[in-house]
């Protein structure tokens, strides 16, 4: 449990608000907490609010990107909200990308982007269920 990073569940969406400057161990704990909560709540989306992050270096970038990929495997999409302009420009100049992660200007836009993703995932879930039933032969029972 991270005291400094609150994680809220709103419907199928997990909202994580980073309020302090992350040091390395804290950011690794963040990753663990997100993955655990995704698993335990079957969340299909995670919104990470990084408005308070004044510095994003290659390590934090990598943690965020990895978290997104890991969550994806568990069927949850990750969106970063509120990347600050100085951080944006610095990442660009450093040539750092945060692959596999979508960003949004604010929470509303972020939720909308996830809403779109939600329907896509639901559709895939339906298709997946149908396929699974065929494989296991439930349809034949």
């Amino acid at each position: 449990m991270i005291e400094e990073i609150p994680v809220l569940k709103i419907g199928p969406v997990l909202m994580v608000t980073i309020q302090t400057d992350l040091h390395d161990r804290l950011s690794e704990e963040l990753q663990n907490t997100i993955l655990e909560r995704v698993w335990s709540t079957s969340a299909s989306a995670v919104l990470i609010d990084i408005t308070a992050l004044q510095t994003v270096d290659s390590f934090i970038g990598r943690i965020l990107s990895e978290t997104a990929r890991m969550a994806r495997i568990m069927n949850a999409k990750v969106v970063l909200v509120g990347m600050r302009p100085p951080v944006t420009m610095t990442l660009l100049e450093m040539g750092l990308e945060i692959p596999d992660v979508e960003t949004a200007i604010d929470i509303e836009t972020g939720l909308n982007k996830l809403g779109y993703a939600l329907r896509e995932i639901e559709k895939k879930e339906d298709e997946g269920e149908a396929r699974k039933n065929k494989e296991w032969g439930y349809g034949n029972l």
């Binding site: 510095t55 390590f59 450093m94």
Partner: protein, 129 residues
């Protein structure tokens, strides 16, 4: 001049916050403050991860009417075998040695690096207002 020991992960955060504060005192723009803090974070992390710990010196500098900030990172780690390679783009992913060096160089006005195998590494960055 201030000296910061970099012996733990928390020290990396302390170092970059100190750099940001000094940059603020010097009147750097908000984007420049972030550039400086980010470069310091990268280099401090190198000191911690690959240098086995070390230190950072922050200095306010002047040249005529120009004012700026200088940070010097030193460690007694295993050194960087191929500096040119470390400074080249596309080098090092994941836990690569010298990660963040080319990026930091782009953010600063100046980056000087000296390293000897088995003896240690010294990185100096300068940014003018």
């Amino acid at each position: 001049m201030e000296i910061f020991e970099i012996l733990s992960e928390e020290d990396i955060v302390r170092a970059r916050m100190a750099a940001r504060t000094t940059a603020e005192k010097l009147g750097f723009s908000i984007v420049d403050k972030t550039r400086i803090a980010t470069a310091v974070s990268e280099l401090a992390r190198n000191v911690y991860n690959h240098g086995g710990g070390g230190r950072m010196e922050i200095e306010k500098i002047r040249e005529g009417k120009k004012s700026g900030i200088r940070c010097i990172f030193t460690d007694q780690g295993r050194g960087i075998p191929d500096i040119e390679q470390a400074m080249g783009d596309g080098f090092s992913t994941g836990n690569g040695l010298g990660q963040g060096l080319p990026g930091s160089k782009r953010l600063m006005d100046n980056l000087k690096i000296e390293s000897q195998i088995g003896k240690g590494t010294r990185v100096e960055i300068v940014k003018w207002k």
